[in-house]
């Protein structure tokens, strides 16, 4: 208990609005404007979590996305955040907050014993140890002990985040001094500026460092900028994380609020003013609660009036820390400043130690003292100012490279390597006046990239020192010590990318903001390389964790991949249809109540006994119109269509140039210059694309057009011995059509296309009417069906009927190697002399080898059960290998036995032979047959 609340300070909290939340069951008091971090800090709570691997007590370190320790499980008003950073989560009255990674809670963690086992848990421990037994043996135990928060499987976040696409002329990322100056000056030139700030308040470092700008308080710059930006038509987004830079000036941002908003911003120009992050220091036990970033301490003091301790040690090597010490002394704390530099002047009211360094922190559950240059020192808090790392994530995401700046001891953006302008601390400018000047210049259209930095004393760099005794942490979030980095170096994992994977350094929610530099610097020291020689890891989006619900927006559930719907869906539902997806369409599977498989059997039986009607509307209807229509279809198809007579239909295939069957379907010729291609329902777009390809790149645009009119028509297919009778009873004046005949007739003031095409093997009429006549046609057929003892049938029954006939479904009964000759359609291959799509591929060595998998039927021995779809066919003798697999398999109610289709190696030559089937360890036998099992002579086509 050492943190406390200052009686007056805290510009961002509202003391008239107190609030309460619980942390691990204990009530914590705070004010509106407090983050969970500041409220806990002010309440004196130190242990906020347990470390990832060793379950060591951990406390608050930072003030933003850099926070490695204070990661919580937060529940409030039915919402659950499994890994909320305390520094980024505003406290709300009634919140329930729990530490993660600890059991039963952070203060009394029973896994703390892991810390005593630390010497058995070096880097790579998991990789080395768990190779011996299967992972599943260890997983439950390890999952329980390690990892951060848990996802609540019962919690489904609302799909209410709004997705907005926006554009601006100038995007300014970060509203610190440089960003504010940039946004203001860009807006002053009339540009539409978007200023995006991660925090709730504008100001960045000004929020903690305060001061005057151009002679007025800094808040004037913030409010003026806001006004100027808005006046010029721009926007200021706070509480918004700009999380990704993508191609061609696209940026993604996540805005928090009652409803999340996800922005996709396209910017003509981008100014990056993302600031910098303070580095930690390396000494023994540098992970104890009570050790904080000095800048974070200053931030919590000025923003929230939260002070981390009473007796504070501040370790630094830069003048920047002197105002921090002064502010803490003014607030009433006892501060000792340890400056690693010699000859630094003291500060009034501050105990000063020049040329000293901190070697160890003392204490068990929190800081109680320190060893400074070999001497014991009493304190309750240690603040670290290890230098600044520019926040270059967005720069690097956009392809930017980094340069090592020896003088300033930091990696800075290399000018000209990414399409954005970097200003302020993000490019290493820590001096306020220069940052403002850079921002102003960039906003007006300039780029400070060429500017040299104002002369400053070379930084005195802190580096991890392997000669210090004790455990020094490099990565707090992943529990990586300096020793682990040493082990990685000894075992050859010297590349930073390897170091990261081997030790997990730099992973998880903080993405190594406080640890990457230390790991890199340590590896450089251990391997006697410079920092640029050691390299940096890759920066990838997101900049910090973004809820998937914000990115997904409303595109979830039924809206994730919206299905195409039938015009007659409502009527089918009223008739008891049960719907399912078939190739992107929501279609009736069966009609009625009860077991679905049984219903499908009944429907398939009735369709052959009397008559069935099914909704075939998704069947493609591609109008191919013009004098060159036949020429186009001849080239794009495997079966010639130029020889088809008007009023007739022909079954055809479309191949890829690789010779593989891409689609099958019937082509209708309505007149010399008008064809309709009935592409498979799931292939309509693809077939249209291929037709367009041939049209635009070969046949020529002028003499033929392709139109997809699929959704303009409803097709109801009447199939079965009573098909003609039902059409008659429905008042449809059927033309005199032979099998594969097509005609257009008048129907109810419009036109109906009648095609005698059959996918069931029975006499069938495909009736297509414009959608506005759909209800009429359905009602007419419905009435007629009742009289004929027929019924509506769903797709399940249609699948049974077509499988009885050996009719294929492309992609189900064919795969990525199936050529037309494998389906017994070798005729055009040997006969056609003209060019067509895929022709040459049908004559390659692969196309003519005798091991091709060919379509066959399978018949099980009398009384055998239905074969499992997907079962492999294997040789009767010799070593077991797959000769192919079962593609479709059903019980045929009309034959009273199972039927199946399969792709079988050299199958056409094996008709009549026995083949073995392998599935899930079981072997059975079947006879190879022709694909068609029902009415092989096709006598039923004529009713």
């Amino acid at each position: 208990m050492s943190g406390w609340r200052h009686p007056d300070l805290g510009a961002e909290i509202d003391r008239s609005k107190p609030l309460r939340f619980t942390f691990d069951g204990q009530t914590i008091e705070g004010f509106e404007g407090d983050t969970l971090a500041s409220a806990l800090l002010a309440s004196g709570h130190r242990i906020l979590g347990r470390s990832f691997k060793y379950h060591r007590p951990r406390g608050l370190w930072g003030m933003g996305a850099d926070e490695p320790n204070a990661v919580f499980d937060v529940r409030h008003k039915g919402i659950h955040w499994p890994n909320a950073r305390a520094t980024l989560t505003y406290a709300q009255d009634g919140m329930r907050v729990a530490s993660v990674n600890a059991w039963p809670n952070a203060r009394r963690d029973l896994f703390g014993v892991m810390d005593f086992a630390q010497r058995f848990l070096p880097a790579g421990f998991y990789y080395k140890t768990f190779m011996r037994l299967p992972w599943r043996f260890y997983e439950p135990l390890i999952r329980r002990m390690a990892g951060l928060g848990r996802v609540d499987p019962d919690f489904a976040p609302a799909a209410d985040s709004v997705q907005v696409a926006a554009a601006c002329e100038v995007l300014v990322i970060g509203a610190g001094p440089a960003g504010l100056a940039a946004a203001r000056s860009a807006a002053e030139t009339g540009r539409v500026v978007w200023l995006v700030e991660d925090a709730r308040h504008l100001g960045g470092a000004l929020r903690r460092r305060g001061g005057e700008i151009e002679g007025t308080p800094w808040r004037d710059l913030a409010s003026q900028t806001q006004k100027t930006v808005k006046r010029a038509g721009g926007r200021v987004l706070t509480d918004t994380t700009l999380w990704g830079a993508f191609d061609h000036g696209t940026f993604a941002a996540w805005q928090r609020g009652p409803h999340h908003r996800h922005w996709r911003i396209r910017a003509e120009r981008c100014i990056l003013a993302a600031g910098g992050i303070e580095r930690p220091l390396w000494f023994a036990n540098n992970d104890l609660p009570g050790i904080l970033s000095a800048e974070a301490a200053l931030h919590h003091l000025h923003a929230h009036g939260a002070v981390p301790g009473k007796k504070i040690l501040l370790a630094t090597a830069t003048d920047n820390s002197y105002p921090v010490a002064k502010a803490l002394v003014d607030a009433g704390a006892d501060v000792t400043l340890i400056d690693s530099r010699n000859d630094t002047p003291g500060l009034e009211g501050v105990t000063h130690m020049a040329g000293a360094r901190i070697e160890a922190a003392l204490g068990r559950h929190g800081v109680t003292g320190a060893t400074v240059s070999g001497k014991h020192f009493d304190c309750d808090t240690i603040l670290c100012a290890g230098g600044t790392t520019p926040t270059v994530h967005i720069w690097c995401q956009a392809g930017g490279k980094l340069d090592w700046d020896e003088d300033r001891d930091m990696l800075v953006p290399r000018p000209g390597t990414a399409p954005m302008t970097v200003v302020g601390a993000a490019r290493g400018t820590l001096d306020l006046a220069t940052a403002l000047q850079e921002g102003k210049g960039a906003g007006a259209g300039g780029d400070p990239a060429g500017d040299t930095f104002p002369a400053s004393d070379p930084a005195t760099p802190f580096r991890p020192d392997t000669s210090l005794p004790g455990r020094q942490w490099v990565d707090l979030q992943n529990d990586v010590t300096l020793k682990d980095v040493g082990l990685a170096a000894r075992e050859g994992f010297t590349s930073v990318e390897h170091l990261k994977r081997y030790t997990t350094l730099g992973m998880a929610t903080d993405q190594g903001r406080t640890s990457n530099f230390g790991g890199l610097a340590a590896m450089a020291t251990l391997t006697n390389r410079t920092i640029p020689e050691t390299g940096t890891t890759t920066y990838r989006p997101p900049f910090q964790p973004v809820p998937l619900s914000a990115i997904a927006g409303p595109a979830r559930g039924a809206l994730y991949h919206p299905l195409k719907r039938l015009a007659l869906e409502a009527s089918h539902r009223a008739a008891g249809a049960r719907f399912r997806e078939y190739g992107g369409w929501l279609r009736p599977a069966v009609y009625g109540v009860g077991d679905e498989a049984t219903l499908a059997q009944q429907e398939a039986l009735a369709a052959r006994k009397t008559v069935g009607v099914y909704d075939a509307s998704p069947l493609g209807k591609l109008d191919v119109i013009g004098p060159d229509a036949a020429k186009l279809l001849d080239f794009a198809g495997y079966i010639r269509m130029s020889t088809l007579k008007p009023g007739r239909a022909r079954y055809g295939f479309m191949l890829s140039e690789t010779g593989i069957v891409y689609d099958d379907g019937v082509v209708l010729r309505l007149s010399d210059t008008h064809f309709v291609v009935s592409a498979s329902s799931s292939h309509v777009d693809g077939v249209r694309g291929r037709l367009e390809d041939a049209r635009q790149d070969r046949i020529g645009r002028g003499q033929v057009f392709v139109h997809d009119v699929t959704q303009g028509f409803v097709t109801l297919t009447v199939t079965g011995p009573k098909a003609r009778a039902v059409c008659g009873a429905a008042g449809i004046a059927l033309p005199d059509l032979a099998h594969m005949g097509v005609a257009e007739i008048a129907y109810k003031g419009g036109k109906m296309r009648v095609a005698r095409v059959s996918f069931t093997g029975d006499m069938s009429y495909e009736l297509s009417v414009p959608t506005e006549l759909a209800d009429t046609l359905r009602a007419d057929l419905d009435r007629a069906l009742t009289g004929a003892e027929g019924r509506w049938i769903g797709l399940e029954a249609v699948m049974i009927l077509r499988a009885e006939k050996g009719f294929i479904v492309i992609g189900k009964d064919t795969d990525g190697q199936t050529m037309p000759q494998d389906l017994s359609w070798g005729g055009p291959r040997t006969k056609r002399a003209d060019e067509y799509l895929g022709k040459r591929s049908l004559f390659t060595p692969a196309a003519i080898q005798d091991t091709r998998r060919q379509l066959v039927g399978l018949r099980v021995p009398e009384g055998g059960s239905v074969i499992e779809t997907g079962a492999h066919l294997i040789p009767n003798h010799g070593p077991r290998r797959s000769l192919g697999f079962v593609t479709s398999s059903y019980f045929s109610p009309n034959l009273g036995r199972p039927v199946a289709l399969a792709l079988l190696e050299n199958g056409h030559a094996k008709i009549g032979a026995e083949v073995r089937l392998f599935n899930d360890g079981l072997i059975r036998v079947a006879e190879v047959t022709p694909p068609c099992a029902f009415d092989p002579k096709g006598e039923r086509l004529n009713g």
Binding site: D247, G689, E692, Q696, D697, R840, F843, T844, P845
Partner: protein, 88 residues
């Protein structure tokens, strides 16, 4: 997200486009006169340059194929034209 310029519709989001094929590969014909090697080269051998590439793309929303020149490293689009013999 990238912006691609369709010669017929102007700049649009990349989600409206499909890559079709690397440009400049003439289809060898007639089939009977084409060797296995020449055909497989036509089907599968692409230059896939690092840097400037000429590619055929399909703008799904208008259905037009066109030739786009773009840098495969920087993603900069430097040209967009209709297929030969067809001006927008």
């Amino acid at each position: 997200m990238q912006h691609f310029p369709c010669p017929f519709c102007g700049p649009r989001d990349e989600t409206e486009f499909h890559f079709a094929v690397e440009a400049g590969h003439a289809r060898p014909e007639p089939a009977a006169a084409v060797s296995d090697a020449a055909w497989s080269s036509y089907l599968y051998e692409n230059a896939s340059p690092k840097g400037s590439a000429r590619e055929v793309w399909l703008h799904l929303t208008c259905g037009e194929y066109f030739i786009m020149t773009r840098d495969t490293v920087s993603r900069e689009v430097t040209g967009s034209e209709a297929l030969p013999g067809h001006a927008p």
